[in-house]
């Protein structure tokens, strides 16, 4: 897997797709490729966030700590990105990510990424657009969920609570493909 291929992968991620090619290449160049054996942890819940990961090959599972132990809430596969929200804002990791099989990922550091955003305003605009798009998506989901909730509470009292979609920062509409 070469830099060129990593660049092609990045281009397909909605979060980055609007960034102009030369800059995206620079981002790929500044990122490092890391391999994890099955069972190794990429990062832990509540850790300080310092990077986003683009999965190149293998699978990663996302776990959330609950009082009864960690619960897997999702599994990610190749070409998916994880942790990208955390590199935009200073929030701790909201979930643990672990390699399910041998995993190779592109580690996009927070510092170089933010500096690039600052350097090239167009990049910021692309990302804003993507974020707005996601917000709209989430709004729609919320609306659906609320409607559903109202329907259930109105319909009958013995109805079980709806299956709320998990709100880990990794999950909501990360990739339409997921």
């Amino acid at each position: 897997m070469s830099l060129q291929q990593e660049f092609e992968l990045l281009r397909r991620v909605p979060f980055f797709c609007e960034i102009e090619p030369a800059k995206l290449k620079l981002l790929a160049f500044m990122s490092e490729r890391v391999g994890y054996d099955a069972g190794k942890t990429l990062f832990r819940q509540r850790d300080r966030a310092d990077a986003a990961y683009l999965i190149i090959e293998g699978e990663a599972e996302i776990l959330v700590e609950t009082p009864s132990g960690p619960v897997t809430i999702a599994t990610l596969g190749a070409h998916e990105i994880v942790g990208e929200m955390a590199i935009l804002c200073d929030v701790p990791r909201t979930a643990t990510v672990r390699a399910k099989s041998r995993l190779v990922a592109l580690r996009i550091g927070k510092d170089p990424f933010l500096r690039m955003v600052r350097e090239f305003p167009n990049m910021a605009v692309s990302i804003m657009r993507e974020l707005a798009h996601r917000l709209e998506l989430t709004n729609n989901q919320l609306l659906t969920a609320l409607t559903e909730l109202r329907r259930l509470t109105e319909d009958d009292a013995e109805a079980k609570p709806p299956q709320a979609s998990p709100v880990a920062d990794k999950r909501p509409a990360v990739t339409p493909a997921a």
Binding site: S2, E6, E32, Y36
Partner: protein, 923 residues
């Protein structure tokens, strides 16, 4: 030593020790080398200095000068004899020489040989006198500089807060340089030139008293006017020296405040300020020139005025017939000869004034108030018993600028085995109190006693060995970490160095020379390490002791890592290298056993290492010296020839082109000083335009159109590529295979004279040019393995521990060079190094002045615990940067506005409304 005591008494300020001579009788530790440790006061004028230290030599010089006169005289008169008596035909022959009658030709030859002899003698005298003068001047200069430096070491601490070293440095170095030359001439020139002048004047008086009188008539005027004019020049000279010192100071300040100057854009102000200073120097210099050359002008004028008298008065006398024509001509000729010595004397006068001022201006700076007594500083007591009993401070005060009391009548007494915390806000006087307790500053009033001895009267030998002090920004000296630790044990030479006969003679000569210049005559190469005071019997025990202290201070891991990065010479460490090789095999075995060989890519001569750069892959070894430096490979002729041989040159240039294209594309829009360049780019911002030009040349006219240096520029790029890290398509497996071929050719054809420039990787041999870690790994930690950066050092550490290698590596880590001022260590490391240094001498009292301020909380806790244990039955006074840390101390002193506000056990003080509670709450 008697003289030293007198000097100490005359220094003023410092009270003279009486009791101590009885308590700690002096002795000389190495009787073989008599010591002269007295320290002298500076002589008030340069002539006093010269007379005091070089009178016999000056007399010898005078004698030599006068002894040379007859030879000079004969060498001048002999040519006349040769012409008049040997060559001119009317001379009668044979002529007698030394009782022999000689014919014309032998006579001529004899005279000529005599002339040759005189020429030789003159030369020999000149040579000898000049060397003698030079030697004398240099010895005196050495003595003077030594005295200045010794005095600087006695300055009060406050002096260095007010004056930067930039002012002192030129005084000890450049400013006094010319004094040496002057000292050699101090008597010889006035005697010689004055004598010559006097002879000529006498001659003239003998020819005719009136004319003689006319010749010297203007001298009194000159003697009156010129010194007056000169005085003004001297004043200006003084001002110039002061201003130049200010320039040095300003340059030093600007270098130190570089960040502030740029962060606040105050460059223009700095430039203006500097230009203003330079302008002042210019004005002074210009004024000096005007006045100096006016003195010369006046002098020349007066010198020319004298012939006016000769022609007028002499001519009149000749016409009147009361003076012979011959006499007038003789007087005129003699007067011409006067000009040269007169000019020399005048120059000498100006040089003398110059030197006098320089001398006075230098020593004026070296007599600050409150200078320490030289005796206290250098005295070596017979034995130094431990300090014990009570430490008491009695109305201790310290005034700043003679007014503001920073420590105000502090009185307390503690047991020397107590652990005492001093807390307070910054500016409360707590730091000054610590300095007072370590006698690094002297109190303005009040006193400190330890076990009944007045601290002010104790020799430095007692204070510096029995009391430890560490401040917040401790200084490390350039050199190894070990040297810095052992500094606390090197007080005086204890065991003489062993010399062979030739070296012994050289040493004796150096010793003699040092004594002639009044320098200290200790041997730098003797063993100075005081094992006793560290509680060790020998070097081995001392190493163990150091290791113990490092662990106490949680500093051993840092030093271990220094050790891993350091290199050793296998020649002197056969056993260790054997064990390191063993560790190498053990590590390989461990990686194999754990199934994680992919974390380290080993060097294999037949495989391309994807985690190493192209340069490393090509050389397959560690460069020794600059020839095969990785950065310079593209300029190395042998490397180029190898690439040509395997037909790789063109392809590597093509790789370089692609890299350059990528870099210019990616980095084009970035500001030139952007940190990405530094961190990520192969091409520096300055080089980017050059590469862009190269690329456009290639695009328009092809790669063949490039100039040789452009090709080399491109060629330098691929050498930096690391396949696994940079993930570029251009470095595919086929290319890797071809580089591998080049590696084999490189090794096979390496010329003999280049063999010493590189040490090849060899799985079975220790590589002296590589670090310990590289020697154990013999490979590269893999990029792209998330585990590798943590796991590999972990396994490495485990292997090292299984083989009990850690102490040896920590020991090597002590050889790590800390850099100038210790800059290669972090402040937290410097602080722990300084504490380790203080602990090593096992002080009876350790004073820490916010000495752990740079440590993080956890480390702070560990170090503090370690220190309490280490100093368990000895005294510890710790000025804390955080009040809450006072919890673990026997007693707490709370300072506020210079006063001791509260004291007692922590539990008693930590109640509502106490200052202690307030300080803790404020954190």
């Amino acid at each position: 030593m008697k003289g030293a005591a007198a000097v100490a008494a005359s220094v003023g300020g410092a009270p003279r020790p009486r009791l101590l001579t009885r308590l700690w009788p002096r002795h000389t530790p190495m009787p073989a080398e008599p010591q002269r440790l007295e320290s002298r006061d500076l002589e008030p004028t340069i002539y006093r200095f010269i007379l005091k230290h070089s009178l016999p030599q000056q007399l010898a010089l005078l004698l030599l000068t006068f002894a040379s006169f007859p030879f000079l005289y004969f060498s001048l008169s002999l040519p006349k004899t040769i012409i008049n008596h040997a060559i001119r035909s009317d001379a009668p022959f044979p002529q007698p020489i030394l009782g022999m009658d000689l014919d014309r030709v032998p006579y001529l030859m004899a005279l000529c040989i005599g002339f040759l002899f005189l020429v030789l003698m003159n030369g020999a005298f000149k040579y000898y006198i000049n060397t003698f003068k030079g030697q004398l001047g240099e010895r005196m200069l050495r003595r003077f500089r030594y005295q200045l430096y010794e005095r600087m070491l006695r300055f009060p601490l406050a002096y260095f807060e007010r004056t930067s070293s930039a002012q002192i440095i030129p005084m000890i170095t450049a400013e006094c340089e010319s004094l040496g030359g002057f000292i050699g001439d101090a008597f010889a020139i006035p005697a010689f030139q004055g004598g010559t002048l006097l002879t000529i004047v006498l001659f003239m008086f003998m020819q005719d008293p009136v004319l003689g009188g006319a010749a010297v008539a203007l001298y009194p005027i000159q003697g009156y006017v010129i010194p007056r004019l000169q005085r003004k020049v001297n004043e200006l000279g003084k001002r110039r020296v002061r201003t130049v010192r200010e320039v040095a100071d300003r340059v030093h300040e600007s270098a130190a405040g570089f960040i502030e100057i740029h962060a606040n854009d105050t460059v223009k102000l700095q430039l203006t300020d500097f230009a203003h200073l330079l302008g002042m120097i210019y004005d002074i210099r210009y004024e000096i020139y005007r006045r100096k050359f006016f003195v010369k002008f006046l002098n020349n004028f007066i010198a020319q005025l004298t012939p006016f008298f000769f022609y007028s008065i002499g001519g009149y006398l000749v016409i009147r017939g009361s003076l012979s024509f011959g006499a007038l001509v003789a007087v005129l000729a003699a007067y011409k000869d006067m000009a040269s010595p007169w000019k020399e004397l005048l120059d000498f006068y100006q040089q003398k004034e110059d030197s006098r001022i320089k001398y006075e201006q230098i020593i004026e700076q070296f007599q600050p108030a409150g200078i320490t007594s030289g005796q206290l500083m250098l005295e070596e007591p017979d034995s130094i018993p431990p300090l014990q009993g009570e430490l008491a401070a009695n109305s201790l005060s310290l005034a700043e600028d003679d007014r503001n009391l920073v420590v105000d009548a502090v009185t307390f007494s503690i047991n020397l085995t107590d652990h005492v915390a001093i807390i307070g806000q910054s500016g409360s006087g707590k730091n000054e109190l610590a300095l007072l307790l370590a006698r690094l500053t002297r109190p303005t009033a009040g006193r400190i006693t330890i076990g009944g001895h007045n601290l002010a009267d104790l020799p430095l030998a007692v204070i510096g060995r029995r009391i430890g002090y560490v401040g917040a920004t401790p200084h490390l000296f350039a050199g190894s970490l070990r040297d810095n630790l052992l500094l606390a044990l090197r007080h005086r030479p204890l065991r003489p160095a062993q010399y062979d006969e030739a070296l012994e003679r050289r040493r004796a000569r150096q010793l003699d020379e040092a004594r002639r210049s009044g320098n200290i005559d200790f041997d730098l190469r003797a063993d100075w390490i005081d094992y006793d005071s560290a509680g060790a019997a020998n070097a081995e025990e001392l190493s163990r002791r150091i290791a113990e202290i490092l662990i106490r201070l949680d500093f051993d891991d840092d030093v271990y890592n220094f050790g891993l990065r350091w290199r050793i010479d296998p020649a002197g460490n056969a056993e260790l290298t054997r064990r390191l090789l063993h560790a190498r095999h053990e590590l390989a075995r461990r990686l194999q056993a754990d199934g994680i060989t992919k974390l380290v890519e080993s060097y294999d001569v037949d495989r391309y290492n994807t985690n190493a750069s192209v340069a490393e892959n090509l050389l397959f070894g560690t460069p020794i010296g600059p020839v095969f430096e990785f950065e310079a490979l593209a300029d190395n002729n042998y490397v180029l020839s190898v690439l040509d041989k395997v037909g790789l040159t063109g392809d590597l240039i093509e790789v370089g082109r692609q890299v350059a294209e990528m870099m210019t594309e990616m980095f084009a829009d970035l500001a030139p000083d952007h940190e990405f360049f530094e961190q990520f780019s192969f091409i520096s911002a300055e080089d980017l335009p050059a590469f862009a030009a190269i690329l456009s040349t290639i695009n328009s006219s092809g790669i063949g159109a490039l100039r040789q240096e452009q090709r080399q520029k491109l060629l330098s790029l691929p050498f930096k590529l690391i396949a696994a890290r940079h993930r570029l398509d251009v470095l595919d497996e086929a290319m890797q295979q071809r580089i591998l071929n080049a590696r084999h050719v490189f090794r096979r054809d390496l010329p003999n004279d280049a063999k010493g420039q590189i040490e090849f990787f060899d799985p079975e041999r220790y590589n002296a040019a590589a670090s310990l870690q590289d020697n154990i790994l013999v490979g590269k930690i893999a990029y792209g393995e998330a585990d590798a950066p943590e796991r590999v050092p972990e396994i490495l550490g485990e292997v090292i521990d299984t083989l009990s290698l850690r102490p040896a590596i920590v020991d090597i880590g002590l050889d790590y060079q800390v850099g100038s001022g210790g800059t290669r260590l972090s402040l937290a490391q410097r602080q722990r190094a300084a504490i380790a240094r203080a602990l090593l001498k096992r002080p009876d009292l350790l004073i820490l002045n916010e000495a752990t301020s740079a440590l993080d909380g956890q480390l702070q806790h560990k170090v503090s615990e370690g220190l309490h244990e280490e100093m368990a039955d000895r005294g510890l006074i710790w000025v804390l940067h955080r009040a809450s840390l006072a919890r673990n101390f026997d007693r707490v002193l709370v300072m506020s506005s210079g006063k001791l506000q509260e004291q007692g056990p922590f539990a008693d003080l930590n109640h509502k409304d106490s200052l202690t509670a307030l300080l803790i709450a404020a954190e």
